[in-house]
Symmetry: C2
Amino acid sequence: MAHDFDPGPIAEPFLTLARDYPGAETYPADAFRVEWGPIFHRGRLDGSARVLVIGQDPAASEDITRRILVGAAGHRTQGFLAKLGIDHSYVMINTFLYSVYGQQGGEQHKNDAAIIAYRNSWLAALTEPAQLDAVIALGQLADDTWNKFKTQTEPGIASLPYAHITHPTQPESSSGGDPQKLAQAVTAMLTNWNTALQQLHPLIAHPDVPGPLTLYGEAFAPGDLAEIPEADLPPGLPDWMRSPVAWAQRTGTTATEKRATITITIPSSA
Amino acid sequence: MAHDFDPGPIAEPFLTLARDYPGAETYPADAFRVEWGPIFHRGRLDGSARVLVIGQDPAASEDITRRILVGAAGHRTQGFLAKLGIDHSYVMINTFLYSVYGQQGGEQHKNDAAIIAYRNSWLAALTEPAQLDAVIALGQLADDTWNKFKTQTEPGIASLPYAHITHPTQPESSSGGDPQKLAQAVTAMLTNWNTALQQLHPLIAHPDVPGPLTLYGEAFAPGDLAEIPEADLPPGLPDWMRSPVAWAQRTGTTATEKRATITITIPSSA
């Protein structure tokens, strides 16, 4: 049985970008989990991407898969792309190379010149071939990322169809464990996402799977989440690493211990 | 600062071998930890390897780095190669793609035709360009691996300089936590390794770093272990993943839990 895999940043300019990346001199360790290493992307780096997705920062499971947006946020994003008819012609990068530590880590460093410069090199490399139909930003920091890049790129790229949508796990992070608030936040997010879908769907000139637009209801329906394709992960990774179940947790009894520890548990459904 | 990385199995025949690998139909789950996925190799897949190392099966940390021989056994092996003047022109594969589960898992399945057939495809791909100066087997199962391959390859490859040496963590596994037994087993291993070094050193026609042979003493000296090169791991992996300190542990209170769990703890020295 053939298992597709993602070769990663093996061709220029990505090869050099994945070799020469900023460390703790650029991403201060009090605001970013630099000790887990940078995580660069997910998806196509061969110029075949039609949609560029900008996320925020990597989650614990992504420290293991070394690809971004593979967990809960990734499955929701993958489902959003599927509604646009895109099932493989995408590429995703994050606002931050490293996982944000603490509540304000991201906001505090969103204007740091060296963070922006390196990220803009990725954005230039991903947009210059100019085959993109659309750009999607997940959340406010990603929106800020695109806005900053727009000021320094050419007009044809700056004017690409673009949607800033609510971050896919904003409902969880805003509802503090309250199920009713969570349901309301999901509904609000899906309303926001539906607006973006209606805007973008007609503009996707090269869908992988052409078809009519199906909007979200008030909650996620089973078909609204999409699998992370095996072809997006490095060779040999087990299937459960693409599961929406949270299989990687930062564990420990102190903050220091928790920063230094990740416990991986294979989901019992696997 | 440039961080070299290993692109992995991106060119044929390795691309296809890393796509079409055997699973639980070939590696029974009662004898192998198939649930963590296959781990293929470490080192050069571009034909530049001068020494082929055959190991046994991946350890817990290697489930994370997705490259073999990066832990304690890897550092000892890397030091052995350094004594032969080889610091990057090597390639390593294991006897088994998956971690052996239980004491007898390896012995029981060493004659399984499908395991041998797939492994021989790797060995053929690694030896056919015929630029190797030597082959080294770590432990008895690896020795069996090379002997089985020899029967079906051409005479020029079957007669390559070859050494079967004691497995680098045999002292730990044979001494049951007794420090005196451990020291004795290390001495015995290093005597065995010295014999192999004296045999192989003159036959390494293309050392990376030419120089005289320095044998081991009765115990490992600091210079006898060598770092795992950054260029052997996938892009972006943090330095401590190349540490000889055991940073990945199978944890849990039951056998089932322990099979399903790996806890990663960044070494405090990192």
